[in-house]
Symmetry: C2
Subunit: 320 residues, 2 copies
């Protein structure tokens, strides 16, 4: 939950006046998101989201993120679309931060995942992968396999505070991943952070995807692996094969999954578990106690890693 | 900033179905308020506020707060009005907490106070005081003078962590206040917490008041004193007499202030400073480090107390 930057009413009114979105009626800080400050705006015309980009987002990445959302929306993918101000630009400054206004995406993220959610997700993910095909900007995945060892090194000397032997176990896993990480699989724009709180539903139907601030160019199957971890494990750490099957089958109805991609899923899913474990581990150890952010348990991904280490083939993910 | 209770989407949909407010499109946790959990709801029909009452609110007080808002709104005071469900009730249970849905009050609270804000406030405060006249429920002010000594005792042994000599200085001030606290001034329903973040404006006009969860029966002039402290001091602790004058003159245009009330303002304002200093002091010392609440500096009220101790008459508040 996060509103890192307080915005004065005068500054906000002046900011909004740059846009043709009507007179502002209210602005409420939203208690979601950990990277940026978000406000829900109501104007006489409609509702909008105002985002102020905090330090964790590299400003040089903003054109990629903003243009990507425009591109995907134009291809029919539900997502917040940046509004252009009268000067034609989407980025302006507010309270000394880059800021943008987005269309409001209706829907709620699912707190209790059902298999039908995973089916909707699989379909939307595949559609997004196809829609990104001819997107011209590029952004490297700076949180992929090559970043994990430096990330572990930053936390290693305190990792055992979280779990005895954690650093050593992660070292061993990293050695396997570095050796076996695929590099010839189909790639394109991936979301790279499609956890349930970034996917909105209205009743049983998916309305759209939000929070593209980790989007980058990488293997499509890695995006699927991230989703499997985020959507198909129960709270007790057990894998729900029905959910995985729903996700994968729905995905394949939209985009063909090659045999190579299927065969790589276990190692990609192990990598996905490690990637989130490492960033959470660092945040867990180094987020100041007073920060207005909920620290998330890095060990949530431990059971996922263990599961994927034992997978022997696509049938373990529900595929015949 | 506060969303203490996470609500599942299924529970929310079932909750909303008790009301005639249309299908729910979205629910966003609001990063404001420190007592309750608040969500901004959008339905097909309109926007609403959903409030879940957390432990700090005594459930037996809820009928007073909720009925008061209905009463005031019926008298033309802008404030959130509880929506009755189909069963005719305003309170229902959600995630094991009492919960209610309110109309959405447009407007934003002023981050930088100008004298015209204080004028609008004075008028609205007086109108609220008159509108509460024939309200039938009663609620004692459990944070008035008789509560301050017990409150100080709970923090006294650690108060010097905040400022050397703080406990002793507060002891001396309490002795003065207990001796001189008025008890024959005009009384009725007061808001008792009308800080700027509880008063909404649209441009220069006040649209309404929110957060009545300290409202009670007490002296009207005490409510004025709370507002003077909350609205008429600058960040450096200096008193802005122009703002106070705007507040008091606007108030008097709506409701007559007796000479006794005017004469009591300094002691009431000293008491108001002490009351907020004491609750903040306690929260400062005893709020757990991980709590998702911004701790507010108790010493913000120290300069206010010092100022009012030296006031010699209404002219120091800008009145001739």
């Amino acid at each position: 939950m996060a509103v890192f930057t307080e915005v004065s009413d005068e500054a906000l009114v002046a900011f909004i006046a740059q846009y043709d979105i009507g007179e502002i009626l209210s602005a409420k800080g939203i208690a979601e998101g950990v990277e940026n400050s978000n406000y829900l705006l109501r104007t006489k015309e409609d509702s909008f989201i105002l985002t102020l980009y905090e330090n964790r987002v590299d400003p040089t990445d903003l054109p990629f993120f903003l243009t990507l959302k425009e591109h995907l929306a134009a291809k029919g993918i539900g997502c917040p679309v940046p509004i252009r101000a009268r000067d034609g630009e989407v980025l302006h400054e507010l309270s000394n931060r880059p800021a943008a206004i987005f269309t409001f995406l209706p829907g709620m993220w699912p707190r209790r995942i059902q298999p039908y959610h995973c089916g909707e997700l699989g379909q939307a993910l595949a559609r997004m992968h196809l829609a990104g095909n001819n997107f011209i900007l590029r952004r490297a995945n700076n949180l992929s396999v090559q970043s994990w060892r430096p990330l572990l090194n930053r936390s290693a000397d305190r990792a055992d505070e979280v779990q005895q032997g954690l650093a050593e176990n992660l070292e061993m896993e990293l050695a396997v991943l570095e050796l076996n990480w695929p590099d010839t699989l189909p790639s394109g724009v991936i979301h790279a952070d499609l956890f349930p709180d970034n996917v909105f539903f209205r009743g049983p139907e998916l309305t759209g995807l939000i929070d593209f601030y980790f989007a980058c160019n990488d293997m499509f199957a890695y995006d699927i692996a991230i989703c499997m971890n985020a959507w198909c494990f129960e709270r007790d750490g057990s894998f729900n094969v029905t959910k995985a099957k729903s996700l994968l089958i729905a995905y394949r109805m939209v985009r063909v999954l090659s045999d190579d991609e299927l065969a790589a899923l276990p190692v990609l899913a192990r990598g996905a578990a490690v990637r989130f474990m490492l960033t959470r581990l660092y945040d867990w150890l180094y987020t100041p106690a007073g920060a207005l952010v909920v620290k998330k348990d890095p060990l949530e991904f431990w059971a996922q890693l263990r599961f994927h280490q034992r997978v022997t083939g696509p049938k373990d993910y529900g595929l015949a």
